[in-house]
Every structure is written in structure tokens, then in C-alpha cells.
Subunit: 245 residues, 2 copies
DNA sequence: CGAATTTTTGAACCAATTCAAGTTCGGTGG
DNA sequence: CCACCGAACTTGAATTGGTTCAAAAATTCG
């Protein structure tokens, strides 16, 4: 039952991926000191509780999602989090985390202390720049999701969601022979795109019958990405290399 | 026709407002050097064109909005921008501005060069921290708007929008005896909350008849903020002092 | 296997859209 | 000052995309 120790940051397996920029050994040493804890969560556990003061995290492995709820329980998923994503900045200007973060699969996260964030900027401005980069990047995702919820119809919304998630998983090297893990239930999809569960199901079946994606044993494949892109009217292209903290 | 010169950053009138944190004279001197141009725009002019590479801006006066459009013209307003708001970070991880920014009223903006941003982090980490703060704060707004578009009904959406805008205007000292400028047309509101123009109108009339807001001669007042908050299920409270760059 | 969760489908309903006119407002020019 | 014009707002009626309700089928898991 003794969990395997995570490697030191310098040997972080994420750093080997083509998706991420490299950092100097000094920077990585700083990150190592900045890191407070390596957290492991089961699927369904909360990484950040809505309204509570939260620390900062980098997703190390597995999937999670950020969400907000209304007081009667209606839930909106703001974005999904994959390895390398950084969470916790969102409450900088606000009193208590304005969102919750929940593990979608068993996952691990590197925890950093919020109080140390300022030292990061002071000692390694380059890492400060990276943090901004990550914050801005997360916002670009939410912008796109808002476009979906506000102006795309059901088919387009689901197509856009499948498109980004597949693209992101592929970029992280999580796909093998055209299929990637896809741990979302239809309820998650519904909450992410702002539709009811029933209509989400009907729309997904429709797209499935149109041959726009395949989903079997929790793995997703997109046989014709161009068709999916076109239906979703989704053209966002991300830069190949992003920072990792 | 010779426009009045803007004051140097050290005497920026925004800095006197209670909403903003103060900076050291050295920081302000850096900001002054960082500033490339003082832009004036008429209502309706574009500050950032969708898809084009954009510079960085702080809104100096007036109102603007960030938006995205689908290829058939459907438009989603992502957020409104008021004095002190910082735009342009959103395309850090992406190739070309993923949004447009348009002036809602006659407005002025301080333009900074994107290429200089790195120097800001290097020379004044504290300002780097502020930039992150502003990016994170903008994201918190978009998160809230996504919750609206995805999970609130028409009445709640409009109530939530009115609530934030009024609150933001008041925080900036833009309100006098309970009323603030309100330059949005119903089309802007519709595009911000993700409803059709017609339904936006009907819903606004309803809220108006319920006495939740008053709107006359382009000025908004909210006689009973608690009631509006309750209807919107909107509880976000922002910290009193935020950075200004 | 049995229980719980997730997916699927049909049917009734409703919130929001679309279509189609008015009406009111703000500005401009005679 | 008033007539006119375009933009913004308002309203009613028909329609529809999506929700809700209800129940069954499939899948997962202890």
C-alpha cells in the first residue's frame, strides 16, 4: 500500500513530453523547493472545495475539472484539467476560491503554497512569466467554452468539446493509435456544455451515428477531425510548447 | 481639435481611486516607459481585431468589450472592460488574438508593447505579479459569465449581468447618487448573456416591472441590490483594492 | 449475481427563438 | 421648430430546440 514516491522535479516525466517547454536546472530546483506536497486523489475527490481558500496545483497525472454551482445545485463545468495544467490562480482577486476542482479519474497533483508565489516572481521572473502564461491560457479555454454555451447549438457544443479534449490529449501524448482515454460521463459533458443530460445523450448519439467520433471502453477516437472541426466551427490552434511548473 | 495630452502615469487619475492599489514611484516610472501610446477610440471602433496579433492595453477611460464570433456571425461577448482593466494576455498561448475588443463608448487606452512584457517581469517582478493578478481576475469574470450562459435562466442571467456591471461601476466611483452610466444596447446584453435580442427585451421588461432596476437616459440604478443578487444567485465579492498597470 | 450507476429512448411540455410589425428615441437638416 | 431617418426598443404570434418526466436497457463493480 506504500505509494511510489514521485520523482524529483528535475526528472519529472512530464518534462520529457514535446508539449512542454524546458526550464533551466535552477528554475527546476526552485520549483522543487516551491513544491509542498504530492497529492493523490481518487476519482470523485475534491482537490479544491468551492468557496474555500485554495492552494496552487499542477496536475501531474489523471484528469480533473473546475466547476461552479448555483445554490440549488445546478452545476457548470468551467474546464477540464489535464497533466501540466495549473490551477488556483483564479481566486487572486477574490475572497475564497470561486470554483471547485474535482478529480475525474484517480490523479496526482503537485501542491504549491500560495504564500510562496511571490518568492517565485522575485527569484525567478521567468517562472513568474510562465505562471501568467498558464493563467492566460486557461482563460482562453474558458473563453471558448463561453462561446459554446452562449452561441453554439447542441451539436456544435458537443463537437467543440470533443474536439478540444481530443486535441489536448493528443498533444500530451495520451493517445495511442488514434484513441485516448475519455473518462467523462454524459453528465459531465452536459454540465460542461450547458445542456440537460437527456439532450446531451440524444445529441451525442446523433453525432455518433454521423461517424464524427467513436467511444468504446472509455476510449475516444475521432476518425475525421476536419469534419468535427467544421461542425463545431472550432479553429483554435494552440502553440506547440507551453510552460510547466 | 488638438486632443488634450494625457497626464504622465505618475499623475494618472485612476491611481487616486480607492479601487486601486498604489505602486512605488519606480514601478510607475517603469510603467511610463513601458507605455507606448495613448489611444483614443470612438464608440464602435476596434481596439483589437479578432485573429490579429494584439498589443497589451489598459483601459484608461470609457467602456469596451471582449467578444468572439462564429463564422456565420453569431457573437458572444466574453466580458465588458472598464477603466483599469487590462487586455491582451489571452493570446499568450495561442496564435493570433482569439477575441476582438471593441469600444462601447468613446474611450482611451494605454498601449504597451507585447515585446516589452518580459522586461517588466525581469525588472519589476512585483509588476509581473500584478499582471498575473489581472489575468486571473479577468478569468474569474469569464468563469462567472460561463456559469450564467450555461446554467442560469434568462431572468437570472440578466440579473447577474446588471449586478456585476453596477457593482463594478460603483467600485470605480463611476456612480453618482445611485446611478451609473450604462452604455449597452439590448443587443450587447443579448450577446453577453447568450439570449436572442427579443427574449432579452422581454426579460428585461419583466425585471424592470419587478422593480429590480431602473434605466433612464442611459443611466442605470439598482434600488434593491439584495433582491437582484438573490434573483441572480450571484454572491461574488471582489477584493477592494486591485493592481493597476 | 445483484445493486448502483450510466446510457438510451419515447412522449409531453416549455423556455427561448424566429418572424413580423409597430413604436419610441436621438439626431440632422430644412 | 418640426419633419424625417435610422437605430434601438417593444410587442404579439408561431415555431422549435431544448427540458422534464418516466422508464427501460446496458454497463460496471463489489
Amino acid at each position: 500500500m506504500n505509494p511510489v514516491q514521485p520523482p524529483p522535479c528535475l526528472q519529472c516525466p512530464l518534462r520529457d513530453k514535446a508539449a512542454f517547454r524546458s526550464n533551466s536546472p535552477q528554475e527546476i530546483a526552485f520549483i522543487q523547493r516551491f513544491k509542498r506536497q504530492h497529492k493523490r486523489l481518487e476519482a470523485g475527490e475534491a482537490l479544491v472545495r468551492e468557496g474555500a481558500r485554495s492552494e496552487l496545483y499542477t496536475i501531474y497525472s489523471g484528469w480533473a475539472f473546475r466547476y461552479k454551482t448555483l445554490s440549488d445545485g445546478r452545476r457548470q463545468i468551467l474546464n477540464f484539467l489535464l497533466p501540466g495544467d495549473f490551477v488556483g490562480l483564479q481566486d487572486l482577486g477574490i475572497d475564497g476560491a470561486p470554483h471547485g476542482v474535482e478529480a475525474l479519474t484517480a490523479m496526482e497533483a503537485c501542491q504549491f503554497t500560495r504564500d510562496e508565489l511571490w518568492n517565485l516572481y522575485r527569484e525567478h521572473p521567468s517562472l513568474g512569466f510562465d505562471v501568467t502564461w498558464l493563467a492566460a491560457h486557461e482563460e482562453a479555454h474558458v473563453d471558448e467554452n463561453l462561446l459554446s454555451a452562449g452561441r453554439r447549438n447542441a451539436e456544435e457544443r458537443i463537437a467543440a468539446l470533443m474536439m478540444t479534449l481530443f486535441k489536448r490529449a493528443v498533444a500530451l501524448g495520451l493517445a495511442h493509435d488514434g484513441r485516448c482515454d475519455f473518462p467523462l460521463t454524459q453528465q459531465h459533458i452536459a454540465d460542461a456544455v450547458g445542456l440537460s443530460l437527456v439532450h446531451t445523450n440524444k445529441t451525442m448519439r446523433k453525432l455518433y451515428r454521423m461517424g464524427l467520433f467513436e467511444l468504446a471502453e472509455g476510449r475516444l477516437s475521432v476518425p475525421n477531425p476536419q469534419a468535427l472541426r467544421r461542425l463545431a466551427d472550432y479553429w483554435l490552434v494552440e502553440l506547440p510548447r507551453r510552460p510547466l511548473i
